[in-house]
């Protein structure tokens, strides 16, 4: 491998290889590799064009023996990629935002060393929203352990729509926080 690299490490030869790379780094190959339906996102197409431009400039740089062009290409491409990151920030904030809001209040009502049950009208892991509701309840109530089912004395209900008729009859509502969040206590 080392010998091969040394043999091929003359700038002119690498420039030829890079030119070939520009030709092969194209949307047809990408469509086969990254797209299930053969159609590419406009962002991916733009990314391919930028990649081809970077490789072409690198080939020119090596052919002219001016490595500074490569340094310029890396710096410019990094600036482009940083702007891509900056554009992702707002979307990511929307995706990642969670609110513990009423769960904090609920936590104050629970005894410090109990286990808490969890019921919902949509079982966790059946949808992203249902999973998020369960995980968020555990996150907010830690270090109390929140276990699935109504077996504990204290039970948290996190519903899309709260229907009192669907709750086991031995659970009484301690407080309805609104938004489908309800704290129950088992009657002894």
């Amino acid at each position: 491998m080392k010998r091969l690299l040394l043999r091929w490490s003359t700038p002119a030869r690498i420039a030829v290889v890079l030119t070939l790379c520009v030709l092969t780094f194209n949307e047809f190959i990408f469509a086969r590799l990254v797209s299930s339906d053969g159609v590419l996102d406009p962002r991916t197409l733009w990314s391919i064009r930028l990649g081809q431009a970077a490789l072409a400039l690198a080939a020119v740089s090596l052919a002219l023996k001016r490595p500074v062009i490569i340094a310029f290409v890396i710096a410019a491409a990094s600036a482009v990629n940083l702007s891509v990151f900056s554009k992702q920030v707002e979307t990511t904030i929307t995706d990642w935002t969670i609110s513990e809001g009423p769960l904090r209040e609920l936590r104050q009502l629970l005894p410090p060393d109990c286990r808490v049950g969890y019921i919902s009208d949509e079982a966790p892991w059946t949808s992203n929203a249902a999973t998020k509701r369960y995980y968020l309840t555990q996150y907010a109530l830690a270090p109390l352990v929140v276990e699935l089912g109504p077996a504990q004395e204290w039970v948290v209900g996190a519903f899309r729509t709260f229907d009192p008729g669907s709750v086991p009859p031995d659970l009484t509502v301690v407080r309805d926080f609104g938004g489908g969040l309800v704290l129950f206590r088992r009657l002894h």
Binding site: R43, L50, S78, V89, I93, W96, I98, P143, E147
Partner: protein, 422 residues
């Protein structure tokens, strides 16, 4: 830049020491408090300063040459830092896995008091409660020192690790090559949008990539600085141990380090060196490995990856291989491209070409590629034996796993071509 690169590496290791001391106090002594965390911080800080002074004496001094390139890297860091801060302010709990796993575990350690071991309750299996605790221990330690559960702490720690990744890469390259590739390597890492997003997600993947990077950099330092070979190899082992205390994949990485060295020794016929170097690395890795193995044996529930008969059956199911291979090919092709911008792989290749175009040299560092390649091979095997649905597992984790080795791969690409004699 030798001093700076050593400072960044020692800082990363000190974070690992602080986290483990805080956790050990909570586990073995009990009743961890602000004072115990302060003591852990002082111990880690003092050890770090002494280690840094010792390493500065061992390693050759290379004068720092700051120019326009470094200013450009600084400006790019500032811009990335601004957007990072906006993201952290807008989503202080981090990505889904951050609050469902890492920050949740930190809350158990901090809020739990004597009941912190409830973290390992079987009801919490979905939060991966068998995972090691470097990041939760670190967050918990800082919360205890501050005396409050400041939500900014996990975000600041995540930012610190992102900074360490860029710092170790660029200053590490500078210490070896002493040319423009150093700040260019930093720019390549900053120009990887998925790496920046992963770092801001507050998950343990970015810190894991920092410890893998530190291991590879220290192994390279051990090659180019024979006078400092022993401490560099021991520290490489310690960094690999920190990786094992960060995430389960870190334990695989420790095996990869020894496996990689074995392959290199077999290729070069240097068996005697292998045993000597292996012993030095093992002595460095031992403290963290003892901690991780004790944690696994006495505290954590069994992990989700078991090498049982079902796993062997999955391994012999040939249909799984093309599915995993195709997902890997897709990930490499779309790495960065999915978000737009220039493919970071192209930038890393240009980094290699920059040096080749300039001067004749040698490719002595090429052998270090064995570590990222072996690591990716190990990940491929893990996907083959995974008990989860293969397509689901690949979709939700492969992008992160590829990023684990990315900083180390950039470092190797930047230092592969070096002056003769190195």
């Amino acid at each position: 830049m030798t001093g700076l690169s050593l400072a960044f590496i020692v800082a990363a290791l000190a974070l690992g020491v602080f986290s483990s001391l805080s956790f050990l106090w909570q586990w073995l002594v009990g009743g961890a408090s602000r004072i115990s965390s302060m003591l852990a911080l002082v111990a880690a800080g003092t050890a770090a300063v002494r280690l840094y002074v010792y390493l500065r004496r061992c390693a050759p001094q290379a004068p720092a040459r700051l120019g326009a390139g470094w200013m450009l890297l600084g400006t790019a860091c500032g811009a990335a830092g601004y957007w990072y801060a906006r993201l952290a302010a807008g989503a202080p709990h981090g990505g889904w896995d951050a609050w469902a796993i890492w920050n949740l575990h930190a809350r158990f350690l901090y809020r739990g008091g004597p009941a912190w071991k409830d973290l390992f309750d079987p009801a919490l299996g979905w939060s991966m409660n068998a995972y090691p605790l470097l990041i939760p221990g670190l967050v918990d330690g800082v919360w205890k020192i501050l005396g409050s559960e400041a939500q900014a702490v996990p975000a600041v720690i995540a930012g610190l690790f992102a900074m360490l990744a860029i710092g170790i890469t660029s200053s590490g390259v500078s210490a070896i090559t002493e040319d423009r590739r150093a700040w260019l390597a930093g720019l390549v890492l900053l120009g990887t949008p998925s790496f920046l997003l992963l770092s801001s997600a507050q998950m343990a993947d970015a810190p894991l990539s920092v410890y893998m990077l530190a291991t590879v950099v220290l192994l390279r330092f051990a090659e180019v600085w024979p006078q400092a070979r022993t401490p560099m190899l021991a520290l490489a082992g310690f960094a690999a141990g920190c990786a094992a205390w960060t995430k389960m994949e870190g334990l695989v990485f420790v095996a990869v380090v020894f496996g990689g060295l074995l392959i290199l020794a077999a290729a070069q016929g240097t068996w005697r060196d292998y045993w000597k170097d292996g012993l030095r690395i093992a002595s460095g890795a031992a403290p963290m490995l003892i901690l991780v193995l004790s944690f696994r044996a006495f505290l954590a529930p069994p992990g989700d990856m078991l090498l049982d008969s079902a796993a062997i059956e999955r391994m012999t199911t040939l249909a799984r291989y093309p599915v995993a291979a195709s997902a890997f090919a897709k990930e490499f092709a779309g790495f960065g491209a999915a978000l737009g911008g220039v493919h970071p792989g192209i930038l890393a290749s240009l980094l290699l070409l920059w040096a080749i175009g300039r001067a004749k040299g040698c490719f002595s560092a090429l052998r270090l590629l064995v570590f990222p390649i072996l690591m990716l091979g190990a990940y491929f095997t893990i996907y083959i034996v995974t008990p989860y649905d293969l397509a689901w597992h690949l979709e939700y984790s492969l992008d992160r796993l590829v990023l684990h080795v990315w900083p180390a791969a950039v470092f190797v690409a930047a230092t592969v071509h070096c002056r003769r004699g190195q």
